[in-house]
Symmetry: C2
Subunit: 188 residues, 2 copies
């Protein structure tokens, strides 16, 4: 008997990828996800988020073993002690990470073998808004720029095509670029 | 000689807070910040972000000592191996962390002593968008809900007021709720 090895490209199991796509095509409700985070104040601008459970694929996830913890802080100039990246920096990381995964998945589906991929992200903010000193400037970022370096076994045109398709499909790119309605309330 | 101790409330140095606000009022250009992140592909959906430098307070920061690293991954159902929270979860963490810091800073400025504060965040996503299976659903979150638990030495009305002021000024809440123009390109 010959054992069939799964096709892996760029570290992505291509057989699993197309199997997942087929399963969702057959049953679109599998695509409904709920992502979650729980955050705890630790004093001053230091707080910690715990991440584990999510809903997806038709039910509550039971596969994830680790519980992730993330510490956020602020630098001294914003009254903290660098206990972690600040929340604005975490937003940029979320964006960079999602775009990276999108590049890898799109390249893998399109048979592009990646060699090295990295990105740098920079976002502009006038903190007069968040500090309550001005109603003329917004509280959040005014612009975010992402620059990718991609080395791949593909033409420059193909690499550009992969990048464009990646951000056209990135969940976090769309969430930030398009905005998401957020409700904030006290727990009952 | 009597030594004057700084006033600390909720772990926040109130003297530093009002000193910072006065300095920015006198010179608004101090409020211009640039936040940054650098992300590296590690194979499949595993990637790592490095965070350290930022511009703010009139120049490049020289005070921050640690370099932060953050690993992002995906759960098995989305073709990964749980090397870290996924990018969508990092976005929720960024939001929770920013709202928490805003609650703490607003409470501190308004003389509200906090005892315990936590929040839970949940966001809805139909991954048919990000997986390229449908143009009818968006790629990103369709809605995000944040619920706060706040124990403080204050009336329920005062606590509600602090929470409302906090999200009215949160940089990440505004970035996500209002959206931010994001540009993605290949480095020159």
């Amino acid at each position: 008997m010959t054992q069939v090895m799964p096709l892996i490209r760029n570290g992505v199991n291509i057989d699993q990828m197309f199997g997942t796509l087929d399963a969702i095509k057959a049953n679109p409700s599998l695509a409904t996800f709920k992502w979650r985070a729980t955050n705890q104040w630790l004093g001053g601008s230091h707080n910690r988020t715990t991440i584990k459970s999510f809903y997806g694929g038709g039910g509550e996830d039971t596969s994830r073993e680790p519980t992730f913890t993330l510490d956020a802080g602020e630098p001294n100039i914003l009254l903290g002690h660098d206990e972690g990246p600040n929340p604005a920096e975490f937003l940029l990381h979320a964006l960079a990470a999602c775009l990276m995964t999108s590049v890898v998945y799109v390249a893998s589906a399109r048979k592009v073998v990646l060699e090295e991929v990295s990105s740098t992200v920079e976002g502009d903010m006038d903190v007069q808004g968040a500090l309550g000193l001005s109603d003329e400037v917004r509280n959040g970022f005014t612009a975010i720029r992402v620059k990718f370096n991609i080395k791949a076994q593909a033409s420059p045109e193909k690499i550009q095509e992969v990048l464009e398709r990646a951000y056209a499909r990135s969940a976090v790119f769309d969430s930030i670029n398009g905005g998401v309605p957020v409700t904030v309330s006290l727990a009952a």
